[in-house]
């Protein structure tokens, strides 16, 4: 079986500062792949390199190959198509300065969807999946930036789902969300797994334990360990640092 995402010997730099020191791993189709690790370990940069928004930051450099569906992301013909294939949820919610409806309809419209009925249906479905529909269905025309932090976070999840991605990257999606809603979204993720591959970057190690089939422990731009979640959390991981980290006795 072909891997959904294959990363080979990835090295990245912000100016002089190196972020990734040659990491290689792969993500299987339709799995939830957890990435854990402390701050500054390169989790977010990794996601940005996959959908090629990393290159927008001035002074960045990248070596190694990232391929999605066997195709090198640096060589894809249509980078917009690639980005639509990947749904990205950023750690700090960014509600675009548009109405709630337009926020969710932004990507399908950019891709050329014009049919009002289709759009309505899509917006409702995405907002429902993100557990936000009930709260906003009466005020879809109000500004997305006026929502509370947690609602904006769910709005970005709805937005990431709006272009029916094959890969969903969640970068600490639950920072601003209460535990109950977090659980609801986690349930949705388990369902979505049937249709898409999910990469879950999280600081809550227990969240990775609950959801991920395999988990990767990233530390200072290097992979300490990448294995089945049961192994990582099973009390006998291969590396002692992993054991310390997941049990909260790190550093």
């Amino acid at each position: 079986m072909v891997s959904k995402i294959q990363v080979q010997n990835l090295r990245t730099w912000y100016g002089e500062k190196q972020v990734h020191h040659g990491i290689s791993f792969h993500v299987e189709p339709n799995e939830i792949f957890g990435i854990i690790g402390p701050a500054q370990s390169g989790k977010t940069t990794l996601l940005r390199a996959i959908n090629r928004t990393f290159e927008f930051t001035a002074g960045t450099r990248q070596e190694g190959v990232i391929s999605v569906d066997g195709e090198d992301v640096k060589r894809v013909r249509d980078v917009y198509e690639l980005r639509r294939k990947i749904g990205m949820v950023a750690p700090l919610p960014v509600g675009l300065p548009l109405s709630i409806y337009d926020n969710v309809a932004f990507a399908p419209r950019s891709a050329g969807m014009r049919n009002k009925g289709e759009l309505d249906e899509l917006v409702e479905r995405c907002l429902t999946q993100a557990a936000l529909w009930d709260e906003v269905k009466d005020r879809l025309d109000s500004l997305g930036t006026k929502l509370s932090g947690g609602q904006q976070q769910r709005l970005t999840i709805a937005r990431a789902l709006s272009h029916q991605p094959e890969i969903l990257c969640l970068d600490e999606f639950s920072i601003a969300i209460d535990p109950v809603t977090t659980m609801r979204i986690e349930d949705v993720l388990k369902v979505l797994k049937k249709d898409m591959t999910i990469i879950l970057v999280t600081n809550l190690v227990q969240q990775a334990r609950r959801l991920a089939a395999r988990t990767m422990f990233l530390w200072n731009g290097e992979i300490i360990e990448c294995d089945k979640t049961e192994v990582i959390f099973g009390g006998k991981p291969a590396d002692k640092r992993t054991h310390d980290y997941v049990n909260g006795i790190f550093g």
């Binding site: 959908n51 001035a58 917009y80 639509r84 950023a90 950019s110 970005t156 709006s162």
Partner: protein, 312 residues
Amino acid sequence: MRAKRPGYAVFAEKGIEWIIRLCGISAIIFVFGIFFFVFREGGPILWEKGTDFRLGDFFTSTDWYPTSMENKRYGILLLIIGTFTVTGLSILIAVPFAIGGAIFLSEFCTGKVKEWLKIIIELLAAIPSIVWGFIGITVINPLIQSWFDVPVGLNVLNASIILALMAMPIMVSIGEDALKAVPDNYREAAVALGATRWQMIFRVLLPAGKNGLLAAVLLGVGRAVGETMGVLMATGHSLNNPYVKLDGSFNPMWMFESCRTLTATIASELGETSVGSPHYRVLFLIGIVLLTITFIINLTADLVVKGIRKQK
């Protein structure tokens, strides 16, 4: 031993504070001073007896014969029409270029090119208006005559082009600031959703920066309304309603008619009047009208910019 400042330092502190306070207050004093002196010169015409001035006619009459012997008339309607026509057209010309320039500077331009472009745009703002008028007469005038086959090249279009060029630099630089103030997160979020650069600019960047861009446009309008020398030379300065033909019908070729503006009238006639005469006072009254117009525009721009701050 603790460090201790000498006793006089306390007084120096107070003194400096007062000097700075005075500098700040002086701005207010100057503005009110200008209003006061202009009104002192122009105001008396409103209540002086024995003049031909009628306040009712002032805004509504097209007759401007301030130097006539028997039949003095002071109606500034044509001048107001001239000012608004030229300003309006110049803004229509300038806005697309200015917003395009602002987008280019903030989104597409980097490094050396950007630095140089900004310097050159600022240089454009530094060209004296009399030089612009000169260009209007010697360069744009013959161009308009030959391209559009019209007898007179000193007209509304000519003045509007010149005003557009003069108002553009300030619009570009303020507009660029407005676009730069849009957080990078918005750009990245839009691009991550598969938007192309243009989709990102038109659907996210411009809506997000629209207040700042509006303020930029309004400042440009303020500049265009108050401009004098360039328009005096380029409009042809003839007392004429560009929208009306001789037979009284609407003139679709209004762009190629000469006209006259409020500012140019003051500049060209004030030197010929005797201090305190009705003509002199009416010109100052026109000054008050101009001050009011620019005051309103600036106030609007200010409120719009405040609106931006509140949003954040």
